[in-house]
């Protein structure tokens, strides 16, 4: 199972991509990754969220989970993240063995 989190927007406007792959994580973390995806009911979430409300400099996320023969991407504004999806993003963003990259917007 591979989880990619793309985060754009924010005051800086830079794009950060963080990927956690169960194939390269420690066995316990690989199991935890799967349970976090299950807890978020990720494959049941609609791909698109509501249009962002008022505000500026907010983050936007695109989270993709690839698992065997299925893949799904969920787009959400930071204000509209369901709690369990927020927890998955926070976990992926801090797990040892994750890969991260920064890029300009575009």
């Amino acid at each position: 199972m591979k989880v990619s989190v793309v985060r754009g927007g924010g005051l800086a406007g830079v794009v950060e991509t963080t990927t956690a792959d169960s194939a390269t994580l420690a066995p316990d973390d690989a199991a935890l990754l799967r349970s976090k995806v299950d807890e978020a009911k990720f494959f049941d979430l609609p791909g698109a969220g509501p249009r962002p409300g008022a505000g500026a400099d907010r983050f936007h996320y695109a989270v993709t989970v690839e698992d065997d023969d299925r893949a799904h991407t969920v787009h959400r504004a930071e204000a509209d993240l369901p709690a369990a999806l927020g927890a998955l993003i926070a976990w992926v963003s801090s797990v040892p063995g994750r890969e991260t990259g920064l890029a300009p917007p575009g």
Binding site: G8, G10, L11, G13, G53, G55, A56, R58
Partner: protein, 360 residues
């Protein structure tokens, strides 16, 4: 930590230690130390300017124990590392309250006060809504959160992860605080869509008034100002001096791709791809940012006096949600004519600036 009368002005580590690390530390530490030293230079300048103003009897009353509401009604909350649903959090400092032990709280409080005073004393605007609205700020949002934002009703600051923003960096620069607060002013006035050209203008007005609040705080002329947004607060993964440069868009850090003229305009879609940033609002804002810089430096003197007033009257009276660059340019020129005269150097400077960046 001991509460201090002017917490915003105090440095974190002794400069000598930082200088030693900057010269001899390992590369990561060296870079961090160099960044901190750069930030300290800004803080020193702020401290000197603050001392100057205190001597002139014009310093924020909170530090002197006189009328505490000079900086407006403002309250700082601790979000306790919670997220949107937890805002604003626990109240930690209200108007007139003494400084607390938490540096981020005091910086958010002082920055909101400086921004309030700028709008009130320079532009005659009483707070975000013009009617004395309370300025609400929350600090310690999320965990290692690399962002500060305006959520539609208040300012919110993360702690920074050390990667994009230095830890504690997001409340360090008054231009960042004023940038966020100005998003509130824009929301209550022009209500520019946060998308494509209106969104880039929305971003640009926040950078313009963010920089002007800093310039006034430091008592700088247009020629003396650094025109940087977020100087000295970058984390280890962004290499450069600041987030953005209004003077030289695209040069502030190694991932800065801001356009400085229409030749570099990035026509990105406003879709749900996070990389497109609402249609490039933080890339294309470089174009109106540089137009403001060019106009202000051509006029000379304090940028907030003429150029700032022209931009403010334009924002609050002449724009609407869908205004694009050309319409905004036309409006600033018309306002410059109304305020200073059709043949005035101010109007000529504004017109010339928009031509130079290729909007007109």
């Amino acid at each position: 930590m001991t509460p201090t009368p002017c917490p915003q002005c105090c440095s974190i580590a002794p400069p000598d230690l930082l200088a030693a690390i900057a010269e001899r530390g390992d590369p990561a530490d060296r870079e961090a130390a160099q960044r901190t030293l750069a930030a300290s230079a800004v803080l020193r300048a702020q401290r000197e300017a603050a001392t100057r103003r205190r001597r002139e009897g014009a310093e924020d009353g909170a530090a002197l124990g006189v009328a505490a509401n000079v900086g407006g009604r403002r309250t700082v909350y601790d979000a306790g590392h919670g997220t949107e649903g937890d805002l604003p959090g626990k109240k930690v400092r209200g108007v007139g309250d003494k400084a607390v032990a938490d540096r981020a709280v005091n910086e958010a409080y002082d920055g909101a006060g400086l921004t309030y005073r700028f709008y009130k004393e320079v532009l005659g605007r009483d707070s975000i809504d013009g009617k004395g609205m309370e300025l609400v700020s929350s600090v310690h949002y999320g965990t290692d959160f690399d962002n500060a934002f305006w959520n539609g009703s208040q300012m919110v600051y993360g702690d920074g992860s050390g990667r994009i923003f230095a830890r504690g960096g997001l409340t360090k620069d008054v231009d960042v605080i004023a940038h966020e607060l100005t998003h509130g002013v824009t929301q209550m006035t022009a209500a520019l869509d946060y998308s494509k050209q209106p969104g880039a203008l929305n971003e640009s007005f926040s950078d313009v008034f963010g920089s002007l609040v800093k310039q006034r705080h430091l008592d700088q002329t247009a020629a003396e100002a650094d025109w940087l947004i977020g100087a000295g607060i970058l984390g280890s993964a962004l290499h450069g001096q600041a987030l953005r440069s209004m003077k030289a868009p695209g040069t502030a850090n190694d991932l800065d791709r801001q356009a400085g003229s229409m030749n570099g305009y990035a026509d990105l879609p406003d879709d749900d791809d996070p990389a497109h940033d609402n249609g490039g609002v933080h890339i294309n804002s470089g174009i109106p940012n540089r137009a403001f810089y060019l106009a202000a430096t051509a006029i000379g003197g304090h940028a907030w006096e003429a150029a700032g007033r022209i931009w403010y009257v334009t924002l609050t009276k002449h724009l609407d949600a869908g205004t694009d660059f050309r319409a905004a340019a036309d409006a600033t020129i018309a306002v410059a004519g109304e305020l200073f005269g059709a043949a005035s150097p101010e109007r000529q400077a504004v017109s010339g600036a928009w031509k130079e960046v290729g909007v007109l």
